[in-house]
Symmetry: C2
């Protein structure tokens, strides 16, 4: 306390003023804004509540279990007969894995040469990918849109799994062939087999460390004897386990858990059940009206109104995407993993913290990312291509499958999904530059913005083209007239 302050304090007017800056002045050192976080959360919540209420007041309750069962399964009853087209599709999806297994068995017994085997594999896989296209486009079967998407997803998954299966079995076959050759030519028989395996596959450093502790080496040998070795893995049971396990990368000895955690499983199953219903209700109640409302402005190129409608659609659509991410990558894949006692639950990393779009693609869908690295990126690099070329090949394949997953169910071949996916490449370059120049926050914001705005744009474009293709342009004009009369 200075002399002046003391002298002032001693006055009979009981002074209360002390020289100081306002908290929000630059010159004050105040930086505590933790309450602002709550404010943001509350405003977001109240805004969403308002939009939900507005939706309910304008459209009434549109959730209807009957409507989405029909939408989900397609017309089950046709001409007094019961059809289960999706069921046929699902059942057929088990055939190609069994074909692949039998080809691999023959390859293992050297009953088939690699060229014949490879041709058979390609034929089998191409037929596999074409099957949903054929079934969905067969006019006598009326397969619902969502079940078509699901079926295409399952077929794509199995396709990727089979690629991995074939490639891994080829690696094993080559390794065993190489070893047998060396064995025969140089040593004759003996326990060379085991020693050679160790030398080849433990890297040198580890091997040197190990030779000092021979006990540990023996431990490894014991464990090794308990593992499945090629060609003992070529069984129907192993193939079926791989078909259902939540990963796209095949290996002979998957890490397993000791037991099924019952409460964990129960929570995940409940999440899947309740979450799916919530999502379907949300689509009917909230997404469909907003998507329908984009039609006329977009068709008549009314850009300000289109932007407003896309922004309106973006919030529920993004909420749906987030819910879908959680339900599939956390609840559903963990359910499958728990049931099959599959120990590796590394299905996603913290993509929400990604500082650029590339990190998002590396972190949000790990089963696909791991598959791409192991079975496409690395083999392509190994074949002598550059890193950029390898990345481009990966994005190109990814774009192909995105297109496949959209065009086949919609029975409409428009290149938007393909373009959207290939558009990620310049977006990645842009977001990396933004991150490098303006820091993490802006890179992260770019990632979120591309998610929040990209999806509703794609949905709007596809819906517009779908309506034009299926109902013609006259419907859009008619709908526009109704709208302008009532609003």
């Amino acid at each position: 306390m200075t002399c002046e302050q003391k002298a002032r304090k001693a006055q009979p007017d009981r002074p209360v003023h002390i020289p100081c800056d306002s908290l929000l002045s630059w010159s004050s050192d105040f930086r505590n804004y933790e309450g602002v976080f709550n404010w943001g959360a509350l405003v977001l919540f109240l805004g969403s509540l308002r939009v939900c209420l507005e939706n309910l007041l304008r459209y009434g309750v549109r959730v209807s279990a009957r409507a989405w069962i029909k939408f989900l399964c397609g017309d089950v009853f046709q001409d007094d007969q019961v059809y289960f087209p999706v069921l046929y599709l699902l059942l057929y999806s088990l055939v190609p894995p069994l074909v692949t297994l039998s080809i691999e068995k023959r390859l293992a017994k050297s009953q088939l040469g690699w060229r014949t085997g490879c041709t058979l594999h390609v034929l089998n896989l191409v037929l596999h990918l074409c099957m949903p296209m054929l079934m969905i486009n067969m006019t006598c079967l009326n397969i619902g849109l969502i079940s078509s998407v699901l079926a295409c997803g399952i077929y794509t998954t199995i396709f990727l799994k089979l690629i991995s299966y074939i490639q891994v079995n080829k690696w094993c076959r080559h390794a065993v062939m190489r070893r047998t050759l060396i064995n025969k030519h140089m040593y004759g028989n003996g326990d060379f087999f085991l020693r050679e395996r160790k030398k080849t596959f433990l890297n040198m450093k580890e091997y040197n460390q190990k030779t000092e502790k021979d006990e540990k080496d023996e431990d490894i040998e014991i464990v090794d004897k308990n593992l499945v070795h090629w060609p003992n893995n070529l069984t129907t049971k192993d193939m079926l386990y791989f078909s259902f396990v939540p990963t796209l990368c095949y290996e002979l000895n998957f890490p397993r858990t000791d037991r099924i955690r019952k409460f964990f499983l129960l929570r995940r199953v409940l999440e899947v059940f309740l979450g799916t219903n919530l999502m379907l209700g949300m689509i009917q109640q909230w997404i469909v009206p907003d998507v329908v409302n984009t039609l006329v402005p977009f068709d008549s190129l009314d850009w300000p109104l289109t932007l407003e409608r896309v922004l309106k659609l973006s919030i529920p659509n993004h909420a749906l995407w987030l819910a879908g991410f959680y339900l599939f990558f956390h609840s559903f894949l963990n359910t499958a993993g728990e049931l099959l006692q599959f120990a590796d639950r590394d299905f996603y990393h913290d993509w929400w913290n990604s500082g650029n779009v590339e990190k998002f693609w590396q972190n949000w869908n790990l089963p696909v990312h791991k598959w791409c690295v192991r079975h496409m990126y690395k083999p392509v690099l190994h074949a002598g291509f550059s890193k950029f070329q390898a990345s481009m090949i990966v994005f190109f394949s990814s774009a192909f499958f995105h297109e496949y997953l959209v065009s086949v169910p919609l029975k409409m071949f428009k290149p938007w999904a393909f373009i959207g996916m290939m558009g990620q490449v310049p977006l990645i370059i842009l977001s990396k530059k933004l991150e490098a120049k303006f820091g993490y926050q802006l890179g992260n914001l770019t990632m979120w913005a591309s998610l929040i705005i990209g999806h509703p744009l794609a949905i709007m474009v596809y819906y517009h083209d779908f309506v034009i293709q299926n109902y013609g342009h006259s419907l859009v004009t008619f709908y526009g007239q109704i709208n302008s009369a009532t609003l």
Copy 2:
């Protein structure tokens, strides 16, 4: 690395799976969600952008400088004559301070007894408070709504300042009288005066410390001689300075800054100018349509629709309140402080971090809070009331002035502002319980919710009653019919 992992790594199938939990599982230790903050900010921004765009598309540009000049000033031209009713009000507001000064001067010279002086003060203050009511309700003058609110605000401010002025001068008068009495009766003359002042007003501890260092004591005496002492403060210049200075608490020696910081002043003045225009534009463009839209649902007791409309109003209204807070408590009061070289800029604390509603009231408006503590809460405690009773008296007076600031400009005496302010008492008790039981976050959320929801509710109720009183119920019915025909 365990033996098992090593043995697996040595296999030719290049395994990629490692046992681990998903990041979002309870069992994982992952807690990094910094990207979610950006997500929230972006969703909030896009949502607001969408609402702005919707508003613009629905209502077009409604900002009009001419309309708000009329609204602000009232009808300047009437019957070919020019009236400036607000100017008359503002000019008259300088009269009561001068009257108070002259009464205080006479009290200081003992030309008036305290009873007569007190009666004159009360008459002067009551007349002062009644003046805006008389002027605004005089039908020949058409004073605009916002200028009425401003005029009432200025009159209330001066009223509180005068109360403080009178009370502080009374303290000084009593201190001097007591000292003079003791002096005369016990010692005769001498330098007793100075010693006595030190003994009385430095508290004992500080005084004991000081006696050890007599040099410092002398310093204090030097500073003290430079300060203004009663009754030298009773000048017109001092009164005018106090009338304009951004505080409600009078003292004889305000802390002063050395110079006017020109760039600081320029920034604040620009903020006031641009911010006021922004706020007025926002009211025309965004608040007025939303307020008008609450009329019919609220009048016809359509609760779901009323809730939707209140929530819709709450976001722009809250944005306006936040902007208004910043503009008044930071930009405007700092402008005044800088111009008058007033050093105490402690106009608000970090109310945004308040853990309960009481802390909000203690932190958001410090000029009023300091006045209440110094001139109402402490004197009432001193008079023998309990802390709770003192708090209630403070809230009661605050409720009175809130009512005054709303009812007088609207020319409509409804108790809603009074009830709203008294309703803070149970809200404080509730939010304190929530904070104690569920922690800071929930208390802070309660504070924000009461702000965000409370204001639009009050606005809706007042607007409804205002329309009914001024235009009758038939207009509301008519307006409802138009609405239901077009929507």
